[in-house]
């Protein structure tokens, strides 16, 4: 299933090595011993041709990395959610408002928000990622400068908003007004980019559980974003991750915030429908 079917001849010639698939581990995730996370569940119906089960990327990480996400005191991403709270309360822009002026506390108003983004914005008539909505509020309601799409300020704010939904199932819509964008995202997911001619699916659908050099391939789910990575010791915005993965195909990447990545984010988010919101998660 995860190995591309080989030609019959090759399959006969090859004694396929005893599958050394290192599948996701069996660990379970409860944050601070109380917020139970769904890290494995039945794949959403739209994936029924290709996957039976979806897994959080947490299940593919080493125990030490996993442990960092199990307790908020150990999770380096939580510091940034705190910085996000300072930004939340800060008055900026010509309207003289902060996020708090309109939304009160994040606990009151932001529960469940992360779980349904990207989603359709009726007024703007477009699919908005959470980052776009944050900037929409800044420019339209606060009359303040937008954050740079993958900046620290953006990921801080995303982390703060995500925390309010931790443990809730990702539930991103793929039909109605978002459908055309969703289809475009799906097309990108299966396109083999770059000189290495690799699609997202080649690595994250056909080969999750396998090792590509030192990396244990996950399903490339985005329920954990923004993600604190040990590799660069900061919170990573999902479009930065997409850029990194396309760069690794020796490909010419799309820009963060581009229509292509918005569509891809919508599509990939729906591949994780049913997993828990985990952000800020910890990965290597």
């Amino acid at each position: 299933m995860k190995f591309k079917a080989m030609t019959a001849v090759a399959a006969l010639l090859l004694s396929v090595p005893a599958m050394t698939l290192a599948d996701p581990d069996e660990d379970s995730l409860a944050i601070n011993g109380e917020i139970e996370m769904v890290t494995e569940t039945a794949a959403p119906a739209h994936l029924s041709d290709t996957l039976d089960t979806i897994y959080s990327g947490w299940r593919f990480r080493e125990d030490e990395t996993q442990a960092l996400q199990m307790d908020d005191f150990d999770n380096p991403g939580m510091v940034f959610a705190d910085l996000g709270l300072d930004q939340w309360n800060k008055v900026e822009g010509e309207a003289g408002k902060s996020c708090a002026s309109c939304h009160g506390t994040p606990e009151e108003s932001m529960k469940g928000v992360r779980a349904v983004y990207p989603k359709w914005n009726e007024t703007a008539g477009e699919v908005r990622t959470l980052a776009m909505q944050i900037n929409g509020c800044r420019t339209e309601n606060m009359k303040a400068e937008p954050y740079k799409y993958t900046s620290g300020q953006m990921t801080n704010m995303e982390a703060l908003i995500s925390v309010q939904s931790r443990g809730m199932p990702v539930d991103v819509a793929m039909d109605g007004p978002v459908q055309a964008t969703w289809e475009a995202g799906k097309e990108i997911y299966y396109t083999r980019f770059g000189q290495l001619e690799l699609s997202c699916a080649n690595c994250h659908e056909d080969n999750y559980g396998n090792m590509i050099r030192a990396d244990h391939l996950s399903q490339g789910q985005i329920n954990g974003f923004p993600t604190y990575r040990l590799k660069n010791a900061k919170l990573n915005q999902v479009h930065d991750r997409f850029r990194g993965c396309i760069r690794d195909t020796r490909g010419h990447t799309f820009e963060a915030g581009s229509p292509e990545f918005v569509a891809l984010e919508l599509y990939v988010a729906t591949r994780g429908n049913g997993l828990s919101v985990e952000g800020p998660s910890v990965r290597n």
Binding site: A10, Q195, R250, G251, H252
Partner: protein, 157 residues
């Protein structure tokens, strides 16, 4: 005059007599089964250089996907099959074809084509994420020959 020199050169290349211009990626002749009969560089491959190209991240990086017993590469991948005994399973011409463009042997394979310069979607300038200006094949003609020479040493016990 020019023609006959070329013919002479080709004859000498075929007999491995001396180094000539490598065959450009677009000019490679594949058999229907995806094999390449003639040497790409005209110079016999060197198996030791082949090991280096196979294992080095900055050259072939074949170990990203393949393991070989005793190669001693740290963290080999397992996206592709184990290559022990591969020199007994395939002829030199077949291995040359697999390394140059595995897609012709295995339809839709994840294995990249190492001697191809066109037909890509959004090719980048190496690993910079920027658009490519000119594209070199992932391996040179000689590196392909070297890797093939190395693979040919991997015989079943």
């Amino acid at each position: 005059m020019r023609l006959s020199t070329l013919t002479l050169a080709a004859t000498l290349v075929a007999s491995g007599a001396f180094a000539a211009e490598p065959v450009a990626p677009a000019d490679v002749v594949y058999t229907d089964a995806g094999a390449i009969e003639a040497s790409l560089s005209g110079t016999p491959g060197n198996a030791e250089d082949g090991v280096k190209a196979f294992s080095s991240r900055s050259i072939g990086n074949c170990v990203a996907c393949h393991e070989i017993t005793g190669l001693g590469a740290a963290f080999p991948g397992n996206v592709g099959p184990m290559l022990d005994g591969v020199g007994s399973r395939w002829s030199e011409a077949e291995l040359r074809g697999i390394v140059a463009n595995a897609k012709l042997v295995y339809d839709g394979t994840i294995m990249p084509a190492f001697y191809k310069v066109d037909g890509f979607i959004r090719p980048g300038n190496a690993y910079t994420g920027k658009a490519a200006e000119t594209l070199e094949p992932l391996l040179t003609a000689q590196q392909i020959e070297d890797v093939v020479a190395f693979l040919m040493t991997l015989k079943d016990e």
